[in-house]
Amino acid sequence: MTTNILIVDDDATIREMLTEVLEEEGYTVAVATNGAEGLAAIERTLPTLILLDMRMPVLDGWGFARILKERSLRMPIVVMTAAQESSQWSQEIGSAWTLAKPFNLDELLQVVQRAIRHHAMSV
């Protein structure tokens, strides 16, 4: 069974690069440039995990997470942010996972693996 990961980030470079990295690891990756696109992508792909940037136009990370909660979608979210308040923001949207920029390849893969494993055990 393939694991679907959704990347929601307005930075094209980050989006493309993460896609490459995660696809090489065997994940199936979908991308969205903002929260609104992200919601549409969830309908399409039913991701196991979401990598979420917080500052985005149209619909930001907070709005996106709130709508997920309203729709009772409980897939794990990894908050990707350069802000000093990264872990605080994670708490704000009820996420247990944070990737504080600048992160490296190993940190990225570790967080992704742990989040997926943790979710699989709790379900």
């Binding site: 470079t13 090489e24 136009p57 000093q84 920029k101 490296n104």
Partner: protein, 623 residues
């Protein structure tokens, strides 16, 4: 001996008493402060008192009237108007020709009194009386004329003195009128009392009267000083204090010196050339400050060097200075000056001291306010720097993440499969992200350089319209519509790199804060030697509280959601510096929610290559 006291006698005794009192106080003052004004007043009223005393002794038959006593009394009488002329000369000035005529008439009259044979004295009475009356008339005339030019207590005292001289003249004249002896004596005594009382309140007014007379000026100064704290500009504040002090004392000029503890100098903020005097200077104003006591100095010597330095006016001869201090803290010095000694310098000095105390309160509160503002500004700047650091760190983190992850990814691929072709996409990503980082770091360095005014480099002939079209092309997107209204071309001498940066910042801002589908209008036109540029958006606008700080470094709008609009907060401060260093102006008009319009005015030519003209505000001189 039985003395029956008639009303007329009573009047005469009162006038004697008054003249004795004036004589006594005038002599005391002349001894205490032997300056010409006081000496002349002492001689005048001392002599009058002596003459009156002699006359009284004769009347009470304690001594017999002989020729010597009569000559002495006549001399004093004839000297009275002459001394008044000299007093007036000290105070308001008498043309030297007239002064010589009066001196001649006086000397001639005295010579006649002492040298003429006794039987001729009676024949001389009428011409002597004429000399006396003419001289007194002149004293009254110039006294009343001077009243028009003076203010406050000086004016009121001058009126009293002039009235005194008028009554004295009437007193002498009444004796010559063809009246019955009783009527004449009553009139003489009446005028005598009036003259005595007028002179008394003019020359040696009692304390309560001085205070009463000082009241209106002091009150006017207090009323005007109540509005002083509202004056924003410091030099306007100091000018207002100076105007108030000069008006209160009826002096032509006043100036204020502020103590600079660090440099140990007195700074005169309203002087034409920024004036400073070191604490060791022996100028009266510095002395008053050094000794921390009010000072009255006459005959100030005219110093051409100082005049050249501070543009003093040579006519200034008299200085009144009072230290401005509060609670032992020395703030500065307040002084007024004029061309002549005031007859009442002691009162003026007293009033000046009161004014200086009042000025101290105003200046102290102003300095405290400024200190608070400085502290607040420092805190604000520290906070801004902190914000800036975190913002800077934030914005650098994203490209840095890409660099790290991409480099590691490419490395891992190369290790796993050494034979694979180079990861071109990954390499390109590394290159472009490095470029992005470089741009950001350079922008930061620019910010630092801008602080030192070294932003604008080599200028060349630039077409601004071209620059605008290029900037628009760089920022064009599907979400926004750009409208450029401009002539074919507008040429000017600018640093093309910085102008591009300015236009980038302004268009970027307009794009960043505009809603989707918003129209951004850029207009360009030339007016005389200035090119005007406006960039208008339909964005979120700027709250009025932010407008004053908009062009400050690291300032970010209160309605700017940091999460939506990350940025350095450097852009607009950069714009301002670029425009200013080109000799231009930048401003903004905006309403929260109603869009913003940035206006830039740039001179066509390089202002550095044109002669610079300075204009100075003229103000009073100072010593």
């Amino acid at each position: 001996m039985l003395v029956s006291l008639t009303a007329s006698d009573f009047l005469r005794y009162i006038s004697w008493l008054v003249f004795f009192l004036i004589g006594f106080w005038s002599i005391i003052r002349a001894i205490r402060r032997p300056i010409p004004v006081n000496i002349n007043a002492g001689l005048l009223f001392g002599g009058l008192a002596a003459a009156i005393a002699l006359g009284a002794l004769v009347q009470f038959e304690l001594i017999t009237a002989n020729a010597l006593i009569q000559s002495f009394i006549a001399t004093v009488l004839i000297a009275t108007p002459f001394m008044l002329v000299r007093l007036m000369d000290d105070v308001i000035g008498v043309p030297s020709r007239l002064r010589r005529i009066f001196t001649g008439a006086f000397v001639f009259s005295v010579a006649l009194i002492w040298l003429a044979p006794p039987e001729m004295i009676m024949a001389l009475a009428v011409p002597l009386m004429l000399v006396l009356l003419i001289t007194l008339g002149y004293v009254v005339f110039i006294g009343l004329r001077a009243v028009r030019r003076t203010h406050g207590i000086t004016q009121r005292r001058l009126i009293a003195v002039s009235l005194g001289s008028l009554f004295l003249g009437l007193n002498f004249a009444a004796g010559q009128l063809p009246l019955t002896p009783e009527d004449a004596r009553s009139l003489v005594d009446l005028f005598g009392v009036a003259a005595g009382i007028s002179y008394y309140i003019g020359f040696v007014p009692p304390h309560w009267l001085r205070q009463l007379w000082q009241g209106p000026e002091l009150r006017a100064f207090l009323v005007s000083s109540a509005s002083l704290p509202q004056i924003k500009d410091n030099s306007e504040l100091y000018q207002a204090i100076e105007r108030g002090a000069a008006a209160a004392l009826g002096a032509p000029y006043a100036s204020i010196g502020l103590w600079n503890e660090t440099n140990q100098v007195l700074v005169f903020p309203t002087a034409e050339a920024p004036g400073e005097l070191t604490i060791s200077s022996d100028l009266p104003v510095v002395q008053a400050f050094r000794m921390q006591k009010p000072l009255f100095v006459r005959n100030v010597t005219y110093d051409p060097d100082l005049d050249a330095k501070f543009r003093l006016r040579s006519r200034i001869r008299v200085v009144l200075a009072a230290p401005i201090s509060i609670g032992g803290e020395r703030l500065g010095v307040l002084c007024v000056y004029g061309p002549r000694v005031s007859l009442f310098a002691d009162d003026d000095l007293n009033l000046l001291k009161l004014l200086a105390d009042q000025a101290a309160v105003v200046i102290e509160s102003r300095q405290l306010n400024e200190q608070t503002a400085r502290l607040r500004a420092r805190e604000e700047s520290a906070r801004l720097k902190e914000d800036f650091l975190s913002a800077a760190a934030h914005d650098l983190k994203t490209p840095l993440t890409t660099l790290i992850v991409q480099a590691q990814l490419s490395e891992r691929r190369a290790i796993r499969n050494p034979a694979a072709p180079p990861d071109l996409i990954g390499l390109r990503r590394l290159v472009s992200e490095s470029e992005r980082l470089r741009t950001m770091v350079l922008e930061l360095l620019d910010g630092a350089r801008a602080e030192q005014d070294q932003l604008v480099g080599q200028r060349e002939l630039v077409d601004l319209v071209d620059c605008v079209r290029a900037a628009v092309a760089r920022h064009e997107s599907a979400q926004h519509t750009f409208v450029v209204e401009a002539p074919e071309q507008l040429m000017g001498m600018y640093d093309p790199g910085r102008i591009a940066q300015l236009l980038d910042n302004l268009t970027e801002n307009a794009v960043k804060y505009s809603p989707e589908g918003g129209v951004i209008t850029i207009r360009l036109w030339q007016n005389a030697a200035t090119i005007h540029l406006t960039v208008a958006d339909q964005g979120i606008g700027i709250p009025s509280t932010d407008l004053p700080h908009l062009f400050e470094r690291f300032h970010r709008g209160v309605n700017v959601d940091d999460r939506k609009f990350p940025g350095w907060g450097l852009g607009l401060s950069m714009c301002r510096r670029i425009v200013h260093q080109h000799g231009g102006q930048i401003s903004v008009a905006s309403r929260e929610g109603g869009g913003s319009t940035f206006s830039v005015a740039l001179p066509v030519a390089d202002p550095q290559s044109q002669p610079i003209q300075h204009t100075y505000n003229r103000s009073g001189p100072f010593l």
